[in-house]
Symmetry: D2
Subunit: 352 residues, 4 copies
C-alpha cells in the first residue's frame, strides 16, 4: 500500500462534511485540514479529539506542502477562483457540482488543469453508485439495444435556493448521469426547457427539459421543488429492453424489462400500416452492491492521481453539463423554443 495523499476539504457547509467523512474513511487519503472562513463551522466538521487541522485562509492552506489535493465544496460562484488557485499551487482538485457558474469559467478550469498536468475532477456523485455503473455497462453491452427514450424524474419538497432555479439545482444530477451512461457522452443538438413559478418565488420551481438523443429519440427531465412525494426515477427505453432505475426502492433499484414493441417489417411504408407486435417477456432485477457512492468517488480521485489519467468524471464532463444547462436557460427564456448547446471540444476543453 502506497502512502496516502494529503487532502483538505474547502467549505464546511452542506456537502463538505460528507466529503470529509469519506476522505477520513479511506486508506488512500490522509485528511489534513478542513478549511472554512468560519472556524467554528470547520471545527464542527473536524469534531472532538482530532488532530485534523482547522484552516480559515485558503491561500495559507494552498501553500502547505503536506497537501496534495483539495476538495472544493464552497458556493458555486467561488469554484473557479479557488480551483484555479489550487491548480496554480500544484494541487489536484475535485469540485462539487456545478463545476463553475458558467461554461466559460469551467473551460478555463479544464484548460488550466490540462496545462498543469493535474487532475481536475467533478464530484458527480451519482456516477459512482452501483446502479449508475451498472446502467452504463448494460448500455455499453448492447443489451438494451438502440436507445429510444429516456425519462428522468427528480422531484421532492426542496429548499428554494436563493441563487439558482430548480433546473440548475436538480437537473445537473440527471445531466451528469446521462453524460456518464450515454456511449458518446452528453452531446444533444437540441434542448428545450420550460419552467413555471406558480408560487411567485422569483425563480422556476417546476421544470421540464427535453434533449435530443443521438439515435432520434428524446431524453426528458422533470424537476420539481414543490412535490410532496419524493421520486428519483429514470427510465431508459431501448429497442431490445427497457431499464427502470428507481433510486428510492432498495429492493428493486434497477430492473430490466424484456418488453417492448416490435415493428413487423423493415419496409418503412409497411411499418406505418399496422404490423406491430409485443414482447411481454420477463423482468430481471440485478443484484447490486450497496457501496456508498462518495466512498467510491474519493477512491477514484486517488486512483486518477496515482495513475495519471483522467478520472471517470473528469472536468470535461462538468463542462458538458454546463453547456446544456446554459442552453436550457436560453430555451426557458424563449418559452421552450429549441436551442443548440455550445459545442465542447472534448480534448481541449475549448468551447465553440
Amino acid at each position: 500500500m502506497s502512502k496516502p495523499y494529503g487532502v483538505a476539504v474547502i467549505g464546511a457547509g452542506y456537502w463538505g462534511p460528507n466529503l470529509a467523512r469519506n476522505f477520513r474513511g479511506s486508506s488512500a487519503w490522509d485528511l489534513v485540514a478542513v478549511c472554512d472562513t468560519d472556524a467554528v463551522r470547520a471545527q464542527r466538521v473536524v469534531g472532538p479529539r482530532s488532530t485534523v487541522e482547522v484552516e480559515t485562509d485558503v491561500h495559507r492552506l494552498l501553500a502547505r506542502s503536506d497537501i496534495d489535493a483539495v476538495a472544493i465544496a464552497t458556493p458555486a460562484a467561488t469554484h473557479a477562483p479557488i480551483a484555479l488557485a489550487a491548480l496554480a499551487a500544484g494541487k489536484h482538485v475535485v469540485v462539487e457540482k456545478p463545476l463553475a457558474p458558467t461554461s466559460v469559467d469551467a473551460s478555463k478550469m479544464v484548460r488550466a488543469a490540462r496545462d498543469a498536468e493535474l487532475i481536475l475532477m467533478i464530484d458527480h456523485t451519482y456516477c459512482y453508485t452501483p446502479a449508475v455503473t451498472y446502467i452504463r455497462d448494460v448500455i455499453a453491452s448492447g443489451l438494451l439495444g438502440r436507445l429510444l427514450y429516456v425519462e428522468s424524474t427528480r422531484i421532492n419538497l426542496g429548499l428554494i435556493q436563493p441563487d439558482v432555479d430548480v433546473l440548475w439545482d436538480l437537473a445537473p444530477h440527471d445531466l451528469s448521469i446521462l453524460d456518464f451512461i450515454l456511449p458518446g457522452g452528453l452531446t444533444p443538438t437540441r434542448v428545450s426547457a420550460t419552467g413555471s413559478d406558480p408560487l411567485g418565488a422569483g425563480r422556476a420551481c417546476v421544470g421540464h427539459l427535453t434533449l435530443s438523443l443521438p439515435g432520434g429519440g428524446d431524453a426528458h427531465i422533470n424537476v420539481n421543488w414543490l412535490s410532496p412525494t419524493k421520486i428519483r426515477q429514470m427510465v431508459i427505453g431501448g429497442s431490445h429492453r427497457t431499464l427502470v432505475w428507481d433510486d428510492l426502492d432498495p429492493l428493486r433499484r434497477v430492473s430490466v424489462h424484456d418488453r417492448g414493441v416490435d415493428l413487423g417489417s423493415p419496409d418503412a411504408d409497411e411499418r406505418h400500416a399496422s404490423a406491430v407486435s409485443y414482447r411481454l417477456g420477463d423482468i430481471t432485477v440485478p443484484a447490486l452492491s450497496e457501496k456508498e457512492a462518495l466512498g467510491s468517488m474519493v477512491e477514484e480521485f486517488a486512483a486518477a492521481i496515482r495513475g495519471d489519467r483522467p478520472s471517470r468524471t473528469d472536468g470535461i464532463a462538468g463542462l458538458r453539463v454546463l453547456s446544456v444547462l446554459e442552453a436550457a436557460d436560453h430555451s426557458m427564456a424563449a418559452n421552450g423554443s429549441p436551442i443548440r448547446p455550445r459545442f465542447v471540444d472534448t480534448t481541449t476543453g475549448d468551447l465553440e
Copy 2:
C-alpha cells in the same frame, strides 16, 4: 321506477361490448339491439340465449321507435355522420371519445343536439370513477388551495394505432379529466407539445404536452406507448395541499399530502431573498367506493335524459378537448412552439 329507455349500441369492436354489458346491467336501460356492419361480431356481443337483436344497418336501426338513445362506439371518423343522423332521427346520443375527428365536426354535433333539444354526451369514462369525482369535489372545496401544477403520466406498452399518434390516443383521457376537475373547465391559453418517433412507426409514440393553468402554473402530460411499465398517475399541486392519484394502486388510489412550501413574506422582493419554510404534515388516504365507472356513466346518461339537463360530460366537454388536441398538433409540428387553442363558446358550441 320509471320505464327503462330503449338503447342500441352501434359498433361491436373494442369498446362496444363494455357499453353493452353496462346497459344490460342497468335497470334504467333496456338494451334492444347491437348494431355493426359485421353481424357475426355483433352477435358475439349479444351472446347466446338472448333476445337482444342484431342490426347491421344504422339507418334501419335509427328508424325504430323502440329505441330512445344510441351509444356510438365506431371508428372516430364515423362519429359525426352517425351522431348527426341519430340526432336527426330524434335519438339521444352518447359517443365514445373523441367526440369527432375535428373540432369543426364536433361543433356541428353540439349545435345539432342543441337545436334538437336532445342529449349529446361524451363517454369520458374516467370522469365517472370515484377517484375523479372525489378530486373534483376536493378542488372545489378549496382544500388544496390554489392550483400550482398538474403532472399527469399515462404510459404503457400500447397498440400503435394505424390512424392516430400517442397524443390523440392517450392524452384525451388526461384532458377530459382536467376539463372535469378544473373549476372553469379546460381553457388553456397556451399549449406546447413535443413528440418523438424513435421506432420509425410513422407517428409519435412518446409525447409531452404542457398547458398553461389559469393561476400561472402549468399542467404537464406525459404519454408513451413504448413503456414496459404501466403508470397512470396524476399529481395536483396546490398552495395548501397536494393530491396524488395513482390509479393502479387500489389501496391508496388517492392521497392528500399536507406538505408544501410556504413563502414567508407577502412582499415579492423579500420572498425571493430566502424565507421559505416547509410543512411536513400528514398524508390522508380517503376511503373511496369501488363502483365501476362505466356503470355510473350509463346511469348519468339516463338521468340527463330524464332530467332534461346536460350530462356531467356534455358534448361541449368533448369539443373543448378537441380544441386543445388540435393546438397540440400544431405545436408538435412547430417543434414545441406555444400555440393558443381555438376558443370554444361554452353556451353555443361555436368555435372562435
Copy 3:
C-alpha cells in the same frame, strides 16, 4: 368444435353469478338454467332479454335431459345431498369450496362419483390462475430446489361468517393451492393451529396454521378478518431459489429470487460451526398471462368430461383439504398442540 354441454348453476348467491357468467362466455358450455329456491334472485342472475331458464326445484332440474352437468354454489351444508343427487341423476358435478362440511361427507361424494364414473370437480379457483399454474410448474422443474418453507398470508377486512371461523373461510384457499403445487399433494403429518377472537364474535377472527412439509420445513398460513390492509401473498423458500407470489401486485405478481444461504460443508458438525455464504443473485419476474381463472376452470370441467379423466382439481383434492382443516380444528381446541390429519386414500377417496 363439438356440441357444447348443457349446464345449470345451482345457487344464485355470491358465487353463482360468477359461475354463470363464465359458463355463458365459454363455447364449450350452454348455460341452460339457473336454479335457486328464490326465483327473483335466480332471475337477477339470468338477466333481461335472455332465454336461460329459471328453476326453483333442484329435483326437477336434475330430471331434465338437456343438462349434462351442474355447478353447485349453495351453502356448504347442502353440498353433499345436492351433489349426491346430481351424481345419482347422471350429471357431472363441480362444487364450490369447501367440497362438503365434513371429510366423511366428502369421502362419500368422491366414492359416489367414482362408482358412477362421473366427474366430481372442486372449484379451487386459484389453481386456475396463471400465477399458480406457473408456480406448480416451476416447483416441478426443480428450479427452486428442495422446499424449505412456505409462508402464506391472506388477510383483509372480512365479513364475519355466521357459521364458520376465519380458518374455514380463508385457509381453504391456501390449502388448495398447496395441494396443487406440492409435488405429492397436501399430506402433512402434523398440523398446529391457533386462533383468537379478540372482538368476542363467537369464533376465531385471526388464525395461524402450521403444517409440516415433506422435506423437514414448515408451511405457515396466516388468515385474518380484522386487517385493514389486504394482503394475499405466498413465499416459497427453496434451497436454490425463492419464489414470492404477491397476488395484489399485477406488475410483479410472481418473482423468483436467486438469493439464499449456502451451508459450506456437507459435514453436519462443520456446518454448525460457521461456514455459511450468501448468494445475492438476480430477481426474475416472469411474464404471465392475465387470463381469468374461473374461465379456465369451466374449460377444464368440460375437458375432463370430454376426456373422461380427473380434472386438475378433482374431488379428492377437496377431500384432502377438508382432512387438514379438521385437524386444524382439533389443534385449535387443544391450544395449538400438533395433530396428525386423517389419511386420505388418493385412489379410493377412503379415509383412514
Copy 4:
C-alpha cells in the same frame, strides 16, 4: 451546557463502531476510549488523527477516573461479568441486546445497578426511532382503542449465527418494541413458539412466536433468516383503528387506518348471529422526523444519568425480554406447547 460525561465503548466488533460514532457526535458525551482485546480492531474504530485512546484491558479501563460510563458491545456471554465489574467500579452501563445470556444473569445485573444506584440501560435501539415513539404515544392516547392483535414480521437473508437461533437473534427486537409500546410492558401469560431448521444448520432458521396479549388477543412474531426479501413490519390492530408500521417504507413508515369491524350488538348471543358492519374510513400517514435512533439512545443515556432516573429502556426491560425468550425456548422444545414465562418483579428485578 453541562460538562460532557466521559464514556468508553467496550467491544469493537459489529455494533461498537455505531455506538462510538454516536457518542462522538453528541455534545453530552466525550468518547475517551475504545476497548477491545484486539488493539487493531479498536484502532480501526478510533480512526486516524484522533486522540481517542485504544484500550485492550477492561479492568485497566474501568480503573480510569475520566470515564463515567461504559457501553458494552461484546459477545452476549460476556455481558454479565463486564457489566457487573463496571457497576462495581462505579460506572453507569448501557448494554447491547440481549442484556445477558440468561434471565438469572440479567436479574443479578439489575439488582447490582439498583444497589449501586447507577444507571443500567439496555440498547433497545428501535425504541428510540421516531416511529416506535409515535406508536407508543398513539396507543397510550387511546386512538387505536383496545388492542386486538399484533403481527410482527422480521425476515431477511441473515447471517446464521454460530451460537443463537433465529428467535434469539431477531425476536428481541420485536419483544423489546412490544415491551415499550404495550401500556403495561411485556407480560404475556402464555408463549408458544415453533421453529424449523430445513437447511440442517443446527439451529432454527425460521420461527413463529405467539404471545397472549392482556386484552384477549395474540401478538404473533415471524422471524426468518432464509428470506430473500427483507420485511420489517408490525401491524397493531385495535378496536377503533389499526396501525401499520412498515420500517422499510420511508414515505409511509406508519399509517393509521380508520377501518375495522364493528359488532352490532353488545349482547354476546346476538353478536354471534350476524350483525357486523365495516368502517371503511380514511388512512392517515403521520409526519415523522428522520432522527437517527442511536443518537437519541445515547442522549437518553446521558439524560438518565443527569436526572438520576431510569432510562426509557431500563435494565428491567431487557430482563422481561429474556424471560419471554426463555419461555419461547421451552415451548419450541415442546413442539409449540404453551409456556408461562417466569414473572419479573418490575421494582426489584427479582425473578419468580
